[in-house]
Each structure stands twice: as C-alpha cells, then as structure tokens.
C-alpha cells in the first residue's frame, strides 16, 4: 500500500532497539552541541574545540588501561590539555593558536601511541575517532542524558553572565564578573559536550556538530537565545536525517549526521547570501 511505502522506511528502523537508542543519543548530542556550539562560533573557539576533541584520546586510553570509565578519562584529558594550553601561552611568547596546536597534537599522538600498544583495542580506535552511535548502550544513554541536562541547566542559569562575558568582556570585568572563571567554565562545558558527543560522532567529527548547526543559525538571527534555539533545531534535524541516511544507505552514522549538518549550513548560506552584505 502507498502509505506503507512512505511510512515503512521511517518506522522500520525504529523496530530495532539499537536504532532507538542510537536515535535518542544522536538527538541528545544534537541539542547539547548546538547550544554550546553557539558560544564556540561567537567566541571563535572552533580551533580550541577541535584541539580539546583530539586531546581526549590519551584519557580514553589510560582509562581503558586502568579499567575506569573512558568518558571520565576523556573529560580529564580535555581539561588537562586546556590547562596546559593556558600554561604554555603564559610561559612562552607563543600566540594562542600555536599553543593550542602544540598541546593537542602532542596529546593526540600520546593517545595513538598508548592505543597502538594494546593490540586487541585497535579495532575500537575507529569507534572513538568516528563514533558508533549504534553501539550505544542503555547505560551510555543514561550518562549522556545526565551530562546533557547538566550542561543545559548551567547554560540556562548563567545565560546572562555568559552573554556579557562573550559580548563585552571589558564591561564584564569592570562590573565585577570573574571573567577568567567564566571563560574556564565555558571550556569545561565545552569539554563535557565533546565527551557527550564521543560515541555518536566520534572525537574528530564532534567539532562539526559544535560548529555547523550554530553557524547555520547565526546567519538567521539577531539574538543569542534565538540563535541557540534555531541551532538546536538544525542539530536535531541533522541527527535524525543523518541517522536514517546511514541506515538506508549503509554508511557510517557519524559522518552521515555531520554531512547533513554541513549541507544545511551551505543551503542556508546560499539562501541568505544576499540578505547580509
């Protein structure tokens, strides 16, 4: 029947529990990355985000070696790298991008080195690098939800403070806001977001989920909260569309989600090209 032809491709994938979990996980990542990604786009933190995402690798390896939760290991590695970047920058005369570059490549290489030393683990490296949304367990899902809700609550509570420190840090400091701590807080939220996205899109592609939906929304709006909401819409749509595409075409899910987000970015860019000059 005609209706079945239309509906089955949408419903059939959801009869598999791994697809149900995968879809939920992808949506959570779509939402959280979209919100934090708005700050990443506005604050010019894309390279920093990329660095932190790469730097989780040694944390994952060490956590795996000592038999601890790999997400905790990933988070700690990201934080240590962020601190290290600040330290290198303050000690030397390097510009920030060079400090970021040195620290994250170092961390990434250390991660690869550690993982290559455990032969049985080598298969899973691609899962870390590119994600494997269909392998998300119920326990993973619970952890991702908890992380996601915490991140969103903090952004909601500190909306006003993060807005001021992002738009006019000089006024923020003059009126007594702890600018350094708020900026560090933002980096911690960014690290947590990357950790949340690890299993869905992997640590290399998570940056795209931070940037693409927020950059798409940025072209369409004049207010931060508006940008965040639109970004969430783009993030969630790319998560759902990408996951279905990967199911129907039998391609990697993380890459399908990211490509959907990037294509939406270019469509909006073309449509709004004349609006803003």
């Amino acid at each position: 029947m005609a209706v079945d032809i239309l509906v089955n491709p949408l419903v059939e994938p959801l009869t598999y529990p791994f697809m149900q979990r995968g879809l939920l996980a992808a949506i959570i990542v779509g939402v959280v990355c979209a919100v934090i990604g708005s700050y990443v786009v506005l604050r010019g933190l894309a390279f920093m985000g990329d660095a932190l995402a790469h730097a989780v690798l040694p944390g994952i390896a060490v956590a795996f070696l000592v038999g601890r939760n790999i997400l905790v290991g990933a988070f700690l590695a990201a934080i240590i790298t962020a601190l290290g970047i600040g330290l290198v920058q303050r000690q030397g005369r390097l510009r920030e991008d060079s400090a970021v570059g040195i620290m994250f490549v170092g961390a990434f290489a250390l991660g690869i080195l550690l993982i290559s030393s455990m032969r049985s683990y080598s298969v899973d490296l691609t899962h870390i690098l590119f994600g494997d949304v269909l392998a998300v367990s119920l326990q993973d899902l619970a952890m991702m939800s908890a992380l996601g809700v915490s991140i969103l609550v903090i952004v909601l509570l500190l909306y006003k403070e993060f807005l001021l420190v992002s738009f006019d840090p000089i006024m923020a400091a003059t009126t007594g806001l702890p600018v350094t701590w708020l900026n560090n807080g933002l980096l911690i939220l960014l690290s947590l977001t990357i950790v949340t996205g690890l299993q869905v899109v992997g640590n290399i592609l998570v940056v795209a989920m931070l940037i693409a939906p927020a950059a798409t929304a940025y072209q369409l709006t004049d207010e931060l909260w508006h940008m965040m909401l639109l970004s969430v819409v783009f993030g969630v749509v790319s998560a759902i569309v990408g996951l279905y595409l990967s199911f129907w075409l039998g391609v990697a899910s993380g890459a399908a989600i990211v490509l959907t987000a990037v294509i939406m970015f270019f469509v909006v860019l073309l449509l709004t090209r004349k609006r803003r000059t």
Binding site: L42, L163, F167, D168, I170, M171, T174, G176, D222, E223
Partner: protein
C-alpha cells in the same frame, strides 16, 4: 628668556598633583590615583601617575598612540594589576567599589559588532550588576533600560541588531547602557573614532546632560580638535602625566611637545581660527 621660564613654571604647576578634597570635608574625589606605576614585562607603561579628579567633572585624556591611555583606564578600574601605588574611586579602594559604579566603554574594535544582540539587550546589560547572579531581569529593569534608550533618542531602534546602527548611534547605545547602569564614573576610550561632526555633537549633548546629573566622565582621545572644542579640562599623558589642568593651559606647545614628542600639530577651533604650535601658545586668525 622670561617667557620660557614662565612657561616652565606653568607646566610645573600643572604637572604637580592637585591636592585632593579629603581634608576639606567635601565629597570624596571620583578618582584619586597615588603614584601609580604599571609595568608590562620590564617596561614601565605607566609611571608615577598621580592625580585627583573631583566628582562631576568631564576630563579629556590626550596623548599619542601607545601613550598608555587605555592602560590608564584599565589600571583605574582594576582590569590591570598595578605594580605600585594605589587607586581610589569615590573615596574607596578601586577593588572595593560597588559593581555598578563604573561604566567602561571600550574602543570600537574591542566589540564584535556582528554578535547577535539587539540594541535593547545591550542597554539591559547595564542592569546586570544590579540584578546579580543567575536571576533574570525584571520588568522594572526592562523599564529602566527602555527609559535610558529613550533618553539618547534611540527608542525606535530598540529591536535592531547592534551592528546595524551607525557608529554614532552605537556610542549612544553604550551611553544608554551606562545610564541604565546608574554608573557614577564613565570611562570612554576613543568614543569619536570614525564619527562625523554631527554625531560627535549629539554625543557631547548627552555627555553634558550626564555631567549635569553629577556623573564623572573621563574620555580618552587622540583628537585635539575635539578636546579644544568640547572640553574644559584635560590630562596630557605619555607614560607619565605631562600636564593636567584647563584645556587652554594643557594644549600649550610645551606640554604638547613633551606629550607628542615634537610632532607639529595644527588645531582648528570652532570659530575657524587655527592654533599653530610652534613656540609658545599662539592663536592666529
């Protein structure tokens, strides 16, 4: 050379710190800097800054690029650590001031004008120090922001994205923010960059208004024409305070030469006459 000696003596009078009002029982001065030195690495970017500025004054800070005008502002409000010396604002150490006391309007290029905020959002930021952490702006806060915007005559642009406004309108938005903040001291860093004479005059109208309300205003600018036409008092700065006093006295060639390092400067007064700075202070039609 009686003339040179007279000029030198006048400079010395100007350079000497005026006594602050602490002794005479009046209100504490808005700004009191005592022997402030700021080092960046081994370089002294500010040296022995010592001045007192009574509340309710509007003073221009002049000096060439790199003279330390922005650094002075940063040091006054505690954004930069002071190597030695101390700063008091309204009779209290700068660090212990109320959060809303100072409104600092940074140079244009410190702001990302494409940032997704509307004009009314920017003005509302002035209420943040009054609102405190986590809490949302109330209807009363929004009302105050709206009134402030109306006072700078921009109520009809409230919904515009901040980057869509002209440079002069943007500066007025930041003045409205200072109003909403109920700031007692305003620091404006090169607020007239890129503005035409009309926009500049509009801003001075608002500044005069703010001054009449008793607010204290410090304006850093490199434009001596603006200073001559709109200010009564000026500070000449080049790492040190070279002169502090009435504009006629500060815009005198000896002080300007020491501030600008001998560059020839020509000023044009409102009446069209030109002041050419060669020897001494001359006024030529």
């Amino acid at each position: 050379m009686g003339f040179v000696d007279a000029a030198r003596e006048r400079i010395e009078n100007l350079t000497r710190a005026n006594g602050n009002g602490a002794g005479d029982g009046g209100p504490p001065p808005a700004v009191c800097a005592r022997h402030v030195t700021v080092k960046r690495g081994d370089m002294r970017v500010l040296e022995d800054i010592d001045f007192t500025m009574p509340a309710g004054q509007m003073v221009a800070v002049i000096g060439p690029n790199g003279a330390g005008k922005s650094t002075l502002f940063n040091a006054l409000v505690g954004l930069l650590p002071v190597t030695s010396g101390e700063v008091e604002l309204f009779g209290r150490p700068s660090r212990e001031r109320r959060a809303a006391d100072v409104s600092y309007v940074a140079q244009r290029d410190e702001i990302d004008w494409r940032f997704p905020v509307r004009v009314e959002d920017v003005v509302l930021m002035g209420r943040y120090p009054h609102i405190g952490w986590v809490r949302r702006p109330s209807a009363a806060d929004r009302q105050k922001a709206h009134e402030a915007l109306a006072r700078v005559d921009l109520a009809d642009l409230a919904q515009r994205q901040i980057g869509e406004l002209s440079g002069g309108q943007q500066q007025r938005v930041f003045l409205a923010r200072a109003l909403a903040q109920e700031a007692r001291l305003l620091l404006l860093d090169e607020p007239f960059t890129g503005l035409d004479a009309v926009a500049e005059a509009t801003i001075f109208g608002i500044l005069a208004d703010l001054q009449r309300e008793g607010r204290t205003i410090l304006v850093a600018t490199h434009d001596l024409n603006t200073v001559m036409n709109h200010f009564e008092t000026a500070i000449a700065l080049n790492r040190r305070i070279i002169g502090y006093g009435s504009v006629q006295d500060v815009l005198c060639s000896d002080i300007l030469t020491r501030t600008y390092g001998g560059q020839l400067t020509m000023l044009r007064a409102t009446d069209g006459s030109a002041v050419v700075l060669g020897d001494g202070c001359g006024h030529f039609g």
